[in-house]
Symmetry: C2
DNA sequence: GATACATATGATCAATAGTTCATATGAAAG
DNA sequence: CTTTCATATGAACTATTGATCATATGTATC
């Protein structure tokens, strides 16, 4: 990053360049931040949250999830695709049906922390 | 919830109603799930993630954040508004400028867990 | 191998979100 | 009290997203 890129932009009584330099340096790389936002986007939809919550308690086939949430098989399938791409859920075939399950421990923590925040 | 609402929808070798009954019961109320999704939507944008990251290390005024991220003051201000509405950041006036800061401990945990997930 | 069942996928459409531009608010200095 | 500086806000435009509908894939059964 350019050393002198940050000129004082307002008359705050502290030295700006010091702070700005330091802050700018500890920033994770652009790509990681992008991936991180993408991950949280997944949690930012009620349907997907509900899916994660039901899988939380039991692995389930697609039609069961659809029945539980009162939604179309197609809608659920589309969302499961997204969840699987992000490695948040996994699946296995069992005869004609396909069983989905949570594949990651972080899911619980992330949802839990989110809940704590909104409960307050 | 209706006791007999869930008929078996596929020929999975387990009894569906048992599982579906149990899973349906431990679901948080609709409104909470909605709020939860709304909270995560906030983390689902690169700009807001970056803002949180810089505030992570130091409280800053609006124009400093804009300078750090190389973005318009207006864009930043709009996003700060959203972050403030969700109680993720707070602010205080200091002369002509307004200083923003992180107001919640969960922010660190949530971002941290997210990072852990994508690093793997 | 033809049919039925469970799931996946592609196209389409409505709704939502983020940036930009122009402008408004609000405190401080002269 | 007028001007200036820092920030906030509203409107408009584009891009993205989630549900629906129709259809494709793929496994099992006859």
């Amino acid at each position: 990053m350019d050393q002198d890129a940050f000129a004082p932009c307002c008359d705050v009584p502290q030295t700006h360049n010091d702070v700005l330099d330091r802050v700018g340096h500890d920033m994770p790389p652009e790509e990681q931040l992008y991936d991180l936002a993408d991950l949280f986007k997944i949690f930012g939809d009620t349907t997907r949250i509900k899916i994660l919550y039901v899988l939380f308690e039991s692995e389930l086939c697609v039609c069961d999830i659809a029945a539980l949430l009162g939604m179309t098989q197609s809608a659920i399938s589309h969302q499961l695709r997204i969840l699987k791409q992000s490695k948040l859920v996994g699946n296995r075939r069992e005869g004609k049906t396909i069983i989905y399950f949570l594949s990651d421990n972080h899911v619980r923590t992330i949802l839990g922390q989110g809940m704590e925040h909104i409960i307050e």
